[in-house]
Symmetry: D2
Subunit: 340 residues, 4 copies
């Protein structure tokens, strides 16, 4: 199945979706659907030149506008929604990053409240060259420039939260949301626990690339053309978002302080490995402790995100969720976009 | 220059060095010396079989016994001590890991104090096969086993702290100490700020491998035969330990909560990149934010450690500390151990 | 003006309000109204004897059911809602506290995730004697008993959050919510920033008394008969909930880690004192630093809450919000409940 | 017994004691001794006028100079040192507070590292009027002034740490040290676990008053004339410093993040109450949760400090440490200072 969803590029801010939960679905899709769509950049395209300051040109009521939500047929609480990223391609030839007053890891913020004045606000524009596979950084105060690898990903991927909550698209949590991990790239499968009928899946916040931690709070932000292959695992819950690539399984945790995000991701990985390999909890704890990578995702959002990442080579025989990643990967490889 | 230091394998616990600071030097070496020595495992060899429980067989007055301290000629406060790891080789064919009551990231501890009883204490013994380059994990409660890559490193590397402090070898800080980062492997150079005359450098806590975060609190612990090439950069301070490999520069930070360890490491990297590349602070903040890796080192010690790691390929022209890493790397490649 | 709102005691859980935001108002009131109503206990009355375990008898979809929300006429974003607590009286002669698996400050939780099993679940029933002004603690495992002062208060007081969010009644934040501070007692005025038209004010979670921090996660929970006098300050925003009693002004902050809750409350107090007394920011910082009390409110909810509390005697001349507290206090003293 | 110790007021900085541990005792005293001495202010008297900036006039090698250490006869590891504060009297008629660059709760610091410039450095001088029982605050940027209650206390009280560590007098921990709690006033008894023979007790950092949290990092600092009555409880360990006044028992915890300081203090209180009253651990958890006060001590030092404080009225029959507080209190009341 194939479904193309083309958002209105001229929609007013009042019609944009800037939350997980709280919005009516824009479309209904069946498991097994290739969904082709595009996402706005985090500033909704308002920051276009180095002279645009985000605090002046963006509408604070809607950062990280989402594409969606999509109602997935048959999805019910207790199921796991499976989102395989088939392709993520910058939609324009430029990306933008900024400092934002009182936002980022190396500044005080409204929550880590201090009395110092804000850091200077500044904008950087990156050229994106998909053919060469690079983005181009240009210093603002000197001639220094460098090409960095293009590595497109989505900062926000999620479903409606549990218990009737509606959460800002700037926040990560058990529903996914603004996790801001560079692991969310094409070729990766994301597993999300379903909290409401239809799951109400949405995504956005495309990054041409980002460092781990998203230190200044803003990655190389850009609009994306993205294709996902959506599937559903019935009757299997997923407490926190998990990812799978060809080489790795990953658990995520989002919380403050950062050690709690680490703990959530590692405890989830221990439980996952124990269940998949039939290990006792202590044996899984030991195996994970010696094999895990622990790349930080973000240290800037309302909660911070850590990833626990273990190579499948260290977990011989593992086939999470019945091998759905391999099946979707094969399906994606065999598929051609009808419109291209 | 070459210096071999062979600690007394039968030294009583009362003669072991278990702190940074507070101990008399065991030897004096000049900058430019290849220092060949060996280190005890973190349990001082007391945990040897799966039936040995660390809480019963180890002496709690001395965990992570150090080799050293070494007095480095000419080192004064305000200088940077340079320690290049030439080789790190397991000294025995086995390693050990354990759970320790109320120690580790996924248990309450005396500082994250809770009322729950301790997790069960258990010991795992790993076979180490240097020829095959693997360590062998064997589950305790099932037949599951797997070979993992051998990746030898030192958990503790440090100098005497500032302001007359003496710190346990279980703790990391600006003096280095128990950072527990797997980046501290052969081929890497470690930069440490000097706080006292002679620097009083020591190291220990060899790991045949560890996961990032050292989740259960104990890596694959083993005694190590290690050669370091020691050098000195006069008049250049280093506030927090830094590392350099052929491909990367790295800053470390150690603190609680974990976000402060991240902040320290990232702020140090921003300042380092700005100074080396002549960038403004904001331009360096932006460049680091889009290029840094942020692997966690430990989330179990008295302070937690994060690493900020940026590829030199993203920092064209960078030659930190006047290119000392490249010089030491070349010297190490040209050198042959006199005793082997 | 007087308005009595009598909730349906037999309402099914599906009709209870368990969030801030996301619910239609139950009534509309004008500023100046004495609102008389009652609130359910946090368990909706399901835990009644020491043999009732909350994890078995409560509906996890609705803890801390709210009374409200009330639409306050004329309240618009940017205004401050003023809620003066005229009286808070236990509605029944018993209160209940419990341990809840994986909830509380001295246990691991889903966010401070660990591998230890849960603490035992247990229930304590307290006799409440309003005439004597005491609640009676009775140990479960011994004959020890003691009478403690009755000190009725509300754990949750809040309005609809900003940016379209809907938040669980278990969570505190800038909108108020589950702050769980014992300062929210009769005679106190609470100031809340308005985020949506009508403010949508609700409250609940009555406690016959609680310790600071609410260490085990559950206070002496009971249903309350409560009268509030509602008012409105137009055009004055309040970023975080503030309280005022006859002797003190108080700022609150809710965040993790706990130091951020402290920082928010102290920074708000510094700004408040500076504005009210015409002090420079540094002079206000100094004055607050030497005069503030810093009682912890809760260390168990989704975010933790701290209170900054300064005696008015140390702030000569202060009359916050134009002296509304004194006016409401006088109005409350002059008022008689029509139904009693 | 009575012992007067009069430090050399002209001692050079190199002879001051600025650590816990690592210093030879200045005198030996027996349990039961009334020790009369005086302490320097935290800046060693260098900041005397509003034109003195601490960063320019103080020697950074020694802040919080200690009086001591004193070797207490018979004190051995596993014992509890008992320090009853008989009197604490300002030695001069002025106190000083300052902002210090990158120090304090509402500014970035070297550990909560950020890129913003420092807050302005400024000094406030307070008149101290012991007869009137007040200190006088005078704003720097306006005419505002106010008299605040004099409430003398010591910020640092401690013994030598365990495991051979030597810790800066700016840091609190299990050994006591820089806890900065206003509860450490005359009439209070402090219990400290002994780690080394003789305990090596010292104290300093007198405050004419401070707010809870010591928000700006510096209290109303002044030199103090102090008398303590020292005693010893053999064979009873004390893991974290505890305090006792006529009305309250108190546990302290020092850690980061602040919730861990809270957890330590509350867990210690639960264990203490259970042991003293013969309650089960769960019953004590419940009783403490409903009765504890939780005043924050400091949120500015290398670790933060919380106090758990429970009224003895809520713990009928409690006589901690065999009633030593009452005995010392009576002895102090009956005693007259020989030199006054």
């Amino acid at each position: 199945m194939f479904f193309e969803y083309d958002p209105d590029p001229d929609a007013p801010v009042s019609q944009l979706v800037c939350t997980f939960g709280g919005a009516a679905p824009v479309a209904q899709i069946a498991p097994g659907t290739f969904l082709s769509t595009w996402t706005r950049d985090c500033f909704n395209g308002t920051v276009r030149t180095v002279d645009d300051l985000s605090s002046q040109v963006t509408d604070p009521r809607c950062l990280n506008p989402q594409t969606g939500p999509f109602y997935v047929e048959g999805a019910e609480p207790g199921d796991t929604l499976v989102v395989h990223f088939v392709s993520i391609t910058p939609r324009v030839s430029w990306g933008v990053s900024t400092t934002v007053p009182f936002f980022g890891a190396l500044t005080s913020t409204p929550r880590t409240a201090m009395l110092q004045p804000a850091l200077a606000e500044r904008t950087w524009i990156y050229d994106i060259d998909p053919a060469a596979g690079v983005v181009r950084y240009q210093a603002r105060d000197s001639a220094f420039a460098v090409e960095l690898p293009l590595d497109p990903m989505h900062g926000t991927v999620g479903v409606a939260p549990a218990l009737g909550e509606v959460r800002s698209a700037l926040t990560p949590g058990p529903w996914g949301g603004n996790m801001d991990t560079p692991e969310m790239r094409a070729g990766t499968t994301c597993y999300l626990g379903v909290n409401v009928d239809g799951a109400l899946f949405s995504f956005g916040d495309g990054h041409a690339r980002q460092g781990e931690g998203e230190t200044c709070g803003v990655a190389v932000e850009t609009a994306m053309d993205t294709v996902v292959l959506v599937d559903l695992v019935k009757g299997v819950p997923t407490p926190w978002p998990r990812l799978e690539s060809d080489g790795f399984i990953m658990s995520t945790g989002s919380a403050r302080p950062l050690e709690d995000a680490f703990r959530i991701s590692q405890a989830d990985m221990v439980g996952w490995v124990a269940a998949e390999l039939g290990l006792s909890m202590l044996d899984a704890y030991q195996l994970v402790a010696q094999t895990t990578l622990a790349p930080i995702a973000n240290v800037v959002d309302d909660d911070y995100t850590c990833v626990a990442k273990v190579a499948k080579a260290h977990l011989p025989g593992i086939t999470p969720y019945g091998g759905v990643h391999a099946r979707l990967r094969a399906a994606a490889a065999a598929w051609r976009h009808p419109g291209r």
